[in-house]
Amino acid sequence: MDKFEIANREALERLQRAEPHIVDLGIALEVIPGMERNMILHAGPPIGWEDMSGPMIGAVTGATIYEGWAGTPEEATEYIDKGNVDFDPCHHHAAVGPMAGIISPNMPVWIVEDRSSGKRSFATLNEGLGKVLRMGAFDKDVIERLHWMREVLFPVLKAGVNRYVRENGGLNLKSLISQSLHMGDELHNRNRAATSLLIRALVPSLIESSCSNDSLARVVRFMAGNDHFFLNPGMAAAKVSLDSVGYVEGSSMVTVMARNGTEFGIQVAGLEEQWFTCPAALPDVLLFPGFTREDVNRDIGDSAIMETYGVGGFAIAAAPAIVQFVGGTPQDAINYTREMYEICLGENKNFTIPSLNFRGTPTGIDLLKIIETGITPVLDTGAAHREAGKGQVGAGIVRMPSEAFVSAATAFADKYYQ
């Protein structure tokens, strides 16, 4: 084994060692490292206001109004144009966000901790489907819902989680993910089982800790009505696990994949916290009725962290139902997963796929295998409308673009050339 193989082995082991648990909830400004009063965090690699795409512009606009920095969309635009808001990737603050991935100072967030390394990560609470901030919607309903989440959802959930944690030490996300994979989820586009398991775990503590039956009922109804409620803590689990790998000299393992609606970016364990970017993919997915190819925005969201973690599109063989939903066959699902094994360092010790004889999911994306095989990762993801607030237009398998991997590999070859 040469030094590169040893490094990759180490990186993969660190990833596998992570034990992500929900330990609390908090307000972004108070708990997210480096969060500032005038800061808005976004999905994907760094991007400026001028370069943002429709969904992200809409989400940022909505967040500006939510924060009270502006009263109307026009005022919000003016406010941001004047340079009052600092933008930074969620990833720079141990955080992740789906679709536009916007986190503003006054938003409630999950706090997930890796029991092995002690590291923490953060993600917002999922708003639901349809006209939501993360799809770029910013109308009155969206803002009101955000306020409700801050005022009602957050305190109720926090009290419940605190009680749960007091009794159990933490809510084991790895265990939930592992079980959900045996129940038809892949944890990116299909989170129904995981959401159900999460709610089941929390409901007793929620009831025992609640002050108001009415609020509790609304909170449970809210969670139960959102099949993707688990996605956000799931992403935080992936984020903290990958963060726990840190820098590993000589390792070609990919530790971040993320998109901001304009660009796709990756980071590699053996290349210190450097982004390698290129234009994000234009998703070629099955479209919902009424939408055409012209409506689709470029790929967007930090949810690619799920595939980086070894689930999502990589585990799609565990979720044949969703592949059918997006126009493929169960055999297609198996073939996608089998293809991903060819670009990964190993098989997951905890996440297994029943239909592949409980084989561990392809885990530890290897940049060099991507280069050599010509295969880039597949994501199972939603596609947003290019116009802010018009919502999701489709979902399916999206192939990541190659240029970011090529520039990362070139940097890798240059760095490690003797």
Binding site: Q331, I334, N335, R338, E339, Y341, E342, K369, E372, T373, G374, I375, S402
Partner: protein, 513 residues
């Protein structure tokens, strides 16, 4: 109107691309279609054919599709192209539920007991892949050409260290335990082991052995450059050693062009010390007397005849004399038949490189100068391979013809079109062909040849002579091929050499002016 479109990062092998182009040209309104990986060479070819590739930014790993059709047809034809690439219409309908791995590693997890990688990738990637295969303990059959000599030496040196064999580069034929790899004929297994630098040379010897009722256990390729001094005969020597060790083999045969002196010494020493019979056929060399443990032959059929007699424990010299006798009869017959044909010249149109070489050699002996695109001597090289002069032999498998065209053994249409042109030339008296059957070759090679023959507009001649290199077991159905050709009036012979002797003899008496 000619238009092009680039599809970045989409790779398809050249055979698939050409077959799709063929399908597209069947569509009404499509005047021309060409699909290529955007290498410099391919872009030049497209530019030459007036496709607008000047402002195209594409790399050799991008696909470029060029179609000549009306503007309103373009979108639908392009769609068809994309559909055909993904679901080739010439393949059977069965839904493949198999997962095809995308890498050598992936393949090894499916077939861990694999012992050979058969590599037919574009030359610039073939060596790296071959190296990977060797590192993983696999022998390699390297069909790809355009592998540099330097890469070849490094690969074979690595293989030698690991006790593995590299067959190639440019190795199109091999047989292992009676199973054919690449272009090969169905033959029984027998006590013969062959090491060959040439694909069709190996095929011809195996086919001739089969005619004599003798089977072959292994036929190992070495590529054409193995016996150069820089390569040192690494594969040839490794192959001979392995055949020496095989207790089921009693005769070892070596086929190729004459090796460089140091390599030749090593090879012949190894053959002579094998404890088994050995037969060499170094083509192009003049006859040599046999040595203890090693017999020299000058032609492929003779090589088979001598080998067969050794297998049967008969006297090879007797077998040779019978053969020379047969050849004399064929020559006599040729002179007789050729007397009445109008025209003066012999044109050889070949698909197999070594078959062409052997036939041209025979013709040279009978006719003096014989020109060609891959001639025996540099001075005999045709200035324009599409414009043969006097007596000429053209190998349509040469690089100049296979850029953007399928190999003539796979697709006979180009050679068939050239046949028509040559045959309608009143100065041509005899046209000589090889028709190679077996795995890898076209499904019905004689069909297009016969169509071309039947379409010829000419009162007297020419005489068509052909050799069908095939066996009863070949997928093309040997008997059917023979029938088709016979019905078209083609003179058929049982070996490449016999056909060449007859054809050359038929024009031997004619004045060149």
């Amino acid at each position: 109107m000619k238009r092009v479109e680039v599809f970045r990062g989409e790779y398809y092998d050249s055979v698939t691309l050409m077959l799709v182009a063929k399908e597209l040209k069947k569509i009404e309104g499509v005047a021309d279609a060409t699909l290529n990986m955007a290498t410099q060479a391919n872009l030049h070819i497209m530019a030459y054919a007036s496709f607008p590739v000047d402002s195209i930014a594409a790399s050799p790993d991008d696909l470029i599709i060029g179609i000549d059709c009306s503007d309103d047809l373009w979108p639908s034809v392009l769609e068809k192209a994309k559909t055909y690439l993904v679901s080739p219409p010439w393949k059977s309908r069965e839904v493949s539920t198999e997962y095809n791995p995308k890498s050598l590693e992936g393949a090894l997890s499916v077939l861990p007991e694999a012992n050979l990688a058969l590599i037919s990738l574009p030359g610039r990637y073939a060596a790296a892949q071959a190296s990977r295969a060797l590192e993983r303990g696999l022998n390699v059959m390297l069909y790809s050409d355009n592998v540099s000599l330097e890469e070849e030496i490094r690969l074979k040196t690595l293989a030698k260290e690991k006790g593995l064999l590299v067959m190639g580069p440019d190795c199109g034929t091999a047989v292992i335990s009676g199973k054919g790899l690449g272009f090969s004929n169905v033959c029984p297994i027998g006590p013969v082991g062959i090491v060959s630098a040439s694909g069709t040379g190996l095929q011809e010897v195996m086919v001739q052995l089969n005619r004599l009722g003798v089977g072959v256990k292994h036929g190992l390729g070495t590529g054409g450059r193995d016996v150069k001094s820089s390569v040192g005969g690494i594969s040839s020597l490794a192959a001979i050693d392995a055949l020496k060790d095989d207790s089921e083999i009693s005769v070892i045969v070596a086929i190729g062009k004459p090796p460089s002196p140091e390599v030749r010494q090593k090879i012949t020493d190894s053959l002579k010390s094998s404890g088994k019979h050995a037969v060499a056929c170094f083509m192009g060399e003049s006859a040599r007397s046999d040595e203890p443990g090693l017999r020299y032959t000058t032609g492929l059929e003779e090589c088979a005849v001598v080998t067969a007699s050794l297998v049967r424990g008969e006297d090879p010299q007797l077998a040779r004399e019978r053969l020379w006798n047969d050849y004399r009869e064929v020559e006599t017959r040729g002179r007789r038949e050729g007397a009445g044909i109008s025209g003066r010249f012999l044109r050889g149109l070949f698909s197999g490189g070594t078959l062409c070489y052997e036939a041209a050699q025979v013709a040279g002996e009978l006719l003096g100068e014989v020109y060609g695109n891959a001639p025996l001597r540099e001075e005999l090289k045709l200035p324009d391979s599409l414009d043969p002069i006097e007596n000429s032999f053209i190998d349509y498998g040469e690089d100049e013809f296979t850029q953007g065209r399928l190999h003539p053994m796979i697709d006979p249409s180009f050679r068939a079109s050239q046949l028509k042109i040559q045959a309608e030339d009143p100065s041509v008296a005899v046209v000589l062909l090889d028709i190679v059957l077996g795995y890898g070759s076209a499904a019905n090679p004689s069909e297009e040849i016969v169509k071309a023959i039947n379409s010829i507009d000419r009162k007297n001649g020419p005489l068509f002579v052909a050799y069908v290199c095939g066996t009863e077991g070949d997928p093309q159905v040997y008997g059917r091929q023979i029938d088709l050709l016979r019905k078209a009036g083609v003179y058929l012979f049982e070996s490449n050499r016999r056909a060449a002797i007859f054809a050359a003899a038929a024009v031997a008496g004619k004045e060149k002016r």
